[in-house]
């Protein structure tokens, strides 16, 4: 009892999606009666994240749950943590292979490129040929991978179809409108999370393309669920951040207490959320979904 687990993310303070993760570890901590902590680099600088992992390792927790946002940077610190006797589970970004390679117990998450690729295939079968990727976090490699994967799934060049939208909702909204009005024959819009999806929804409502243009998004949130319900958004790719946070805590606790460990990695996504079966999603969007 009273084990201590620390989750280190790569997201800046202000990223709202990670909230679900925080809630996930908090709930798991409560249920398993362990201590959980959440750490992140305030500006999203991955080099700072490496230092945080070092530091968490120095504080001697029972386990670390972290992302593999950039293998080059994070591999060293994670290996050092593992080698000094701390169990590590990789969540969210990364891949099962890489997780195994650096000696983590397992991987829980959604490989970003694959998710984008799957979405691209789906969109292609729905007849999409060109798209706009609204990247609200351009400096983060995982965001770019999603757009790239989508383009590859569609079988088109990414080229200028990805815009650096910034994080301010008005800016995102107006940039999307500007792009769409100068490229009116765009078939689809892809957003990478609530930060870009919510303003994009407003933009489409305002320029009348809502419901007309093919709209898919990563990650869920209150407004996204609304959008799916009203048919503006085709699908949301749910990678179930709650599970990404909750499961590792539970698994680590049980591993520490009883030595049991699932034999396989957990792919928490991609799951496509569409207009069917939305009630639970709706209720907990932004908190546990």
């Amino acid at each position: 009892d009273g084990e201590r687990y620390v989750l280190v993310s790569h997201a800046p303070d202000s990223d709202s999606w990670w909230n679900t993760v925080k809630n996930g570890i908090a709930l798991a901590g409560e249920q398993m009666d362990v201590e959980v902590e959440y750490r992140n680099p305030p500006t999203g600088d991955l080099a700072d994240m490496a230092r945080i992992i070092d530091q968490v390792a120095a504080s001697g927790p029972d386990g670390i749950i972290t992302t593999l946002a950039d293998e080059d940077i994070l591999e060293g610190p994670i290996r050092n943590a593992i080698d000094s006797g701390i169990n590590v589970i990789i969540m969210n970004t990364g891949s099962p292979e890489k997780a195994r390679e650096i000696g983590a117990l397992m991987y829980v998450g959604q490989p970003e490129y694959d998710a984008g690729y799957a979405a691209g295939l789906r969109a292609k079968s729905d007849g999409v040929g060109s798209f706009l990727c609204v990247n609200h976090y351009i400096v983060q490699p995982a965001s770019t991978e999603r757009c790239q994967g989508f383009a590859d799934g569609l079988g088109v060049e990414l080229g200028n179809q990805m815009i650096d939208a910034g994080q301010d909702p008005s800016e995102i909204k107006n940039r999307v409108m500007a792009y769409l009005s100068s490229n009116p024959d765009t078939d689809a819009v892809l957003t990478l999370g609530p930060t870009s999806a919510n303003p994009t929804l407003l933009a489409l409502n305002e320029n009348g393309m809502a419901g007309d243009i093919y709209f898919g998004t990563f990650d869920l949130g209150g407004d996204i669920v609304e959008g799916i319900k009203s048919g503006i958004i085709e699908w949301g790719i749910d990678q179930q951040p709650f599970l990404q946070a909750y499961l590792p805590v539970v698994i680590l606790t049980n591993y520490d207490r009883y030595g049991v460990l699932p034999g396989n990695n957990v792919n928490s996504g991609p799951g496509f959320v569409t207009a069917e079966g939305l009630e639970k999603v709706e209720e907990f969007a932004g908190e546990y979904r």
Partner: protein, 374 residues
């Protein structure tokens, strides 16, 4: 003897005359005017058929510019008064979050939430100003501290209270509120419907709103921008207080000795800047229906950039609200125009930096001509 001792007035043979035309040109806004003409010429030539100048496109860059204008007016007056405020961006995030917490979490009526937020934020502005005038520290440092403090609370409070960093649902609670439309509504809807019926502006061809005009009104954001510009311009050039603002920024000590209540002027300008930031935040929250911890990032720089492009002097005592408004317009048009023109979007920052440098060098030249400064 008295009067007889006064030498008669002389004209100076050592200074060449300047033409009336050139004299008329020399004004703080000149840089802004030249820039605006240049920017519009450029985009009319290179992005005319991209949709940038149809009714929707115009509304698009107008809205973006109006946003910049709202914070630029506050930053401009504060800068002329000799200070600047790096906490504007954090203040925008903080104000939005407070409204959301008050109205959604605590369930207060929206008008009350808005008013309390205005009071709270201008009080923080006053605190900023009070620390600056009391300690004599540079406003850079004091407001940098508040940049961090306010952003910290904006992230911390909703997490503690709501366990989220985005609080939504404000549109629902503001349904029927009397104050909310003042920030989030649109006006002249009828006019635009009429224009559309008369075929003067385009209507939607498909989707849920088919048949409605593509532009269905002027957002209150733009109205606020215009009100604040007029207010700021009149305050600065047509009132006693405006003279005090110039004086406080030009030389605080001299102004104080001449009976200008410099501390009061500076604190009031910090409050006005905070007020403008709050207007920005409320408009945004009412439009998007949610408040997030990441709102307003880097807006402090954008405000300062617009003001400086508009001809104001970073060190105070010189500038114009109209110039700042033009600076904001240039900023907005360039930002959106690059998207319309299809320029690789990450290059936007490069353009911004180059325009800033160019504008500032032009303005310095103009200012030297005005003040005979060396």
């Amino acid at each position: 003897m008295s009067n007889a001792a006064q030498p008669t007035a002389k004209t100076d043979e050592r200074i060449k005359d300047i033409s009336a035309f050139r004299k008329a040109l020399i004004r703080p806004e000149l840089g802004g005017i030249v820039g605006t003409i240049a920017v519009f010429t450029f985009f009319l030539l290179f992005a005319f058929d991209s949709g940038m100048f149809n009714s929707q496109g115009v509304m698009n860059w107008s809205t973006v510019s109006a946003q910049f204008m709202i914070i630029a007016v506050g930053a401009c007056l504060l800068m002329i008064a000799g200070e600047f405020d790096l906490s504007v961006g954090s203040m925008i995030g903080f104000a939005g979050m407070m409204i959301a917490i008050f109205s959604v979490t605590y369930g207060w009526p929206v008008w009350l939430a808005i008013i309390i937020t205005f009071v709270l934020c201008t009080a923080i502005g006053a605190l900023n100003g009070w620390i600056v005038v009391r300690t004599g520290l540079p406003s850079f440092i004091v407001t940098l501290a508040f940049l961090f403090i306010l952003r910290g609370f904006t992230i911390f409070l909703p997490q503690v209270i709501e366990r989220k960093t985005i609080i939504g649902g404000i549109i629902d609670v503001s349904e029927g509120d009397w104050l909310a439309p003042v920030f989030g509504g649109k006006i002249f809807g009828g006019l635009f419907t009429w224009l559309a019926d008369a075929g003067m502006i385009a209507t939607f061809e498909r989707g849920t709103k088919a048949g409605q005009p593509v532009v269905d009104g002027i957002p209150m954001l733009i109205v606020w921008a215009i009100i604040l510009i007029i207010f700021g311009h009149v305050l600065l050039t047509k009132t006693k207080f405006g003279n005090w603002i110039f004086a406080a920024g030009g030389d605080a000590e001299a102004a104080r000795n001449s009976g200008v209540p410099v501390n009061r002027v500076k604190i009031l300008m910090f409050m006005f800047t905070a007020f403008c930031a709050t207007v920005f935040a409320v408009c945004q929250v009412m439009e998007f229906g949610s408040a997030g911890a990441d709102r307003g990032l880097l807006k402090e720089f954008e405000a300062i950039i617009a003001v400086v492009i508009g001809g104001a002097l970073l060190t105070g005592g010189y500038g114009s609200v109209l110039g700042a408004a033009l600076g904001a317009l240039i900023f907005g048009v360039v930002q959106q125009g690059l998207f319309f023109a299809g320029v690789e979007s990450s290059l936007f920052r490069v353009f911004l930096g180059v325009i800033l440098l160019g504008a500032v060098i032009l303005n310095t030249y103009i200012r030297r001509m005005i003040t005979g400064e060396r």
